[in-house]
């Protein structure tokens, strides 16, 4: 309920710079501010076990496929799903035994869950009312929040008369109006159509940047995660498989799921200098010289296809493949190749026509070593 963030991070900029994940366990400055959690939830055969830390001002995205346990993690943070184990501390206070209504946590639900019988204003005033504000004061605060989110004109509207983007902002205002120390957003953009999404995404980014406490958002959309978050935590099957800055995760994916999300061909193998012997296939020549187990990634656009075996090419990565499938991908054609190496290749429609590509056709694929990226496992 305080107007200003507490002094521990009062001097920091509103949007904290990216912090490396090894700061876990304490706040980044060791003072116990921010989020420090290990969430264990067991439900039948499914087990969620993720460690999450975040500094005030940081936006963390939980990214993962459906059923990975992202929403369960979010519900556990909010207190809506009980923890089977682990701990949950926010600004040094243990929350794990606190009921949801006592936690300084705000939630923007996937389908917003705006109370249909209340106006936008009363939806936003609901939280302050529950926190003991008088009716007049609660409505004043609510009007202020709606104004900040550009919704002053819609204060009197019932939720069903709001557009998707407006409803999303009302839900955000409602969550922020209780001045939470932890803001949770469950697939904040999933319910929006493509055009609204673009606009709302950039607005949301601005509002999250202004938010001085910890924000955790759940999404299965890599773009949402990359645009909105300072740090990505990729969850698969209840466990964290990778975390780091968005650019880092995008450049150095560690699982097929992430590689597919960010549109990279990803292989795992044993490096010896510039050569990487893949676990399940041929060797690859890379720009980096490494040794030991490594990942190698390259974008589909780095792949060149030839009808006949190219003579005198400088590319040393040359594989004989078969077209397994073709689909349009924006203004490009994406070819799925099988054979010596499974890979995806992007080429222009013209090139595809000239090569006379069709499923089952045999092609030669080349990738320049300089366009690959190898990094240790």
């Amino acid at each position: 309920m305080t107007e200003t963030p507490d002094t521990a991070h009062g001097t920091r900029n509103a949007r904290a710079p990216h912090r490396t994940p090894d700061a876990r366990g304490h706040g980044p400055d060791g003072s116990g501010t921010g989020l420090d959690a290990r969430l264990v939830v067991e439900r039948g055969a499914f087990r969620l076990d993720v460690a999450l830390t975040a500094a005030p001002g940081e936006v963390v995205a939980l990214l993962g496929p459906n059923g990975a346990g992202k929403t369960t993690a979010l519900r556990a943070l909010a207190g809506l799903t009980p923890l089977s184990g682990g701990h949950l501390r926010l600004d040094g206070t243990a929350l794990e035994r606190m009921p949801p209504e006592s936690r300084p946590v705000g939630v923007v639900f996937q389908d917003y869950l705006l109370f249909p019988h209340l106006t936008a204003l009363d939806n936003v005033a609901f939280g302050p009312r529950c926190h003991g504000a008088t009716k007049a004061s609660a409505r004043e605060q609510a009007a202020d929040w709606l104004g900040r989110l550009g919704l002053a004109d819609h204060a009197g509207a019932k939720p069903r008369r709001l557009s998707g983007g407006q409803a999303q902002r009302v839900a955000l205002a409602r969550a922020l109006a209780t001045r939470p120390r932890l803001l949770l957003l469950d697939e904040p953009l999933a319910a929006l159509d493509a055009r609204t999404r673009l606009e709302v995404r950039s607005q949301l980014r601005r509002h999250l940047a202004d938010f001085e406490a910890v924000a955790v958002l759940v999404t299965h959309d890599p773009l949402d995660a990359m645009v909105l978050a300072d740090r990505l935590v990729v969850v698969e099957d209840g466990r964290i498989v990778q975390e780091g800055a968005p650019s880092d995760v995008a450049r150095r994916p560690r699982t097929d799921y992430i590689a597919q999300l960010v549109g990279l061909n990803l292989y795992r193998g044993e490096a010896d200098g510039h050569t990487v012997r893949l676990d399940d296939g041929p060797s690859l020549t890379t720009a980096e010289a490494l040794s030991g187990p490594v990942f190698v990634a390259f974008p589909p656009s780095a792949v060149t296809l030839h009808r006949d075996r190219p003579a005198g090419t400088s590319a040393r990565n040359l594989w004989h493949c078969e077209i397994a499938g073709l689909e349009t991908h924006g203004d490009q054609i994406r070819a799925d190749l099988s054979g010596e190496l499974r890979l995806a290749a992007d080429l222009t429609t013209v090139a595809a026509a000239e090569l006379d590509l069709r499923p089952g056709a045999e092609v030669w694929a080349t990738v320049k070593a300089t366009q690959t990226h190898a990094y240790p496992v």
Binding site: G79, E101, V107, F109, F126, C130, R174, A175
Partner: protein, 283 residues
């Protein structure tokens, strides 16, 4: 005019099926259509007969008599009071059944619905055993506080509530189950206690279901006979409600009984119309 309706309802078996078939859609087989029409007639003919035999000419006189007014007023007051009682204790009970998991919930739900299928007379006897002067609770009430419930107007309300409340509980519980419990979760994340969430979020959301349940309960209470006469007796002005008055009148003054019945029929139709309206707006 009414006889024509009866004719159309029972319908000549030869013309009926053909007409239905020509309306488009698949044909209705005679072995189904015939019993269906008989069933329809079975339900409608008695009501039509009531209208046919109604002493329309002496109606104003019959309906303005002090006794009828007394019984009607008592009926309306008691049914409304019984509905109010059902709301106050029935809605929380419905919430408990719908939202709280506790051991033996299925058994509790079965017990709640029991008065629905229990013969009302049995309900009346059971109430006497509980709240009668020698009942397990009634004895103490009488000894300690001097409160006597049977054969009083309060007793009528109790008997009616006992029979009518299950309708409300079942209806409200169904609405609660259909309502999205995540609204309550959203309220909790905003700092609302469970009771606040119920009062400010759930209650407004399920209001249509509560209204429908209340109307059902009210209609059931209005027509209640068996439990009332057993537990509260039949004292004009005090416990003699409309159904009791109808039954009594039938033995001495059949015309009056018909007139009283028509009043109850009119009230029932009004309730049905009101319910349909509720359901339409709720849907």
């Amino acid at each position: 005019m009414t006889e024509l309706d009866v004719g159309a309802a029972t319908g000549p078996p030869k013309g009926g099926p053909r007409r239905v078939r020509t309306r488009g859609g698949p044909g209705v087989p005679l072995p189904l259509l015939l019993p269906a029409l008989i069933g329809l007639a079975f339900l409608i003919v008695p009501l039509v007969a009531l209208l046919v035999r109604a002493p329309w000419r002496s109606m104003p006189e019959l309906l303005t008599s002090a006794e009828v007014w007394q019984a009607l007023r008592l009926s309306l007051v008691c049914a409304t009071a019984a509905t109010a009682v059902s709301l106050v204790i029935g809605v929380p009970l419905a919430w408990l059944l719908a939202r709280v998991e506790f051991p033996g919930r299925g058994l509790v739900r079965a017990l709640v619905t029991l008065p629905l299928v229990l013969p009302p007379v049995v309900g009346g006897v059971a109430l006497l055993m509980a709240l009668g002067r020698n009942g397990i609770i009634g004895k103490s009430l009488d000894d300690w506080f001097g409160i006597t419930l049977p054969f009083t107007t309060t007793g009528v309300v109790i008997a009616e509530a006992f029979v009518a409340m299950p309708f409300l509980v079942i209806s409200v519980e169904g609405t609660l189950r259909a309502a999205d419990p995540r609204f309550e979760e959203a309220a909790a994340t905003l700092g609302a206690s469970r009771f606040t969430a119920f009062r400010r979020v759930t209650l407004p959301l399920i209001a249509p279901g509560i209204a429908a349940g209340a109307v059902l309960a009210w209609a059931r209470a209005l027509g209640e006979f068996g439990a009332t006469i057993t537990f509260a007796g039949n004292f004009p002005g005090r416990t003699q409600t409309m159904p009791l008055a109808v039954y009594l009148a039938l033995q001495s003054d059949p015309e009056a009984a018909i007139a009283l019945s028509l009043v109850l029929l009119a009230v029932s139709i009004a309730v049905l119309a009101g319910l349909r309206d509720r359901w339409m707006t709720a849907g």
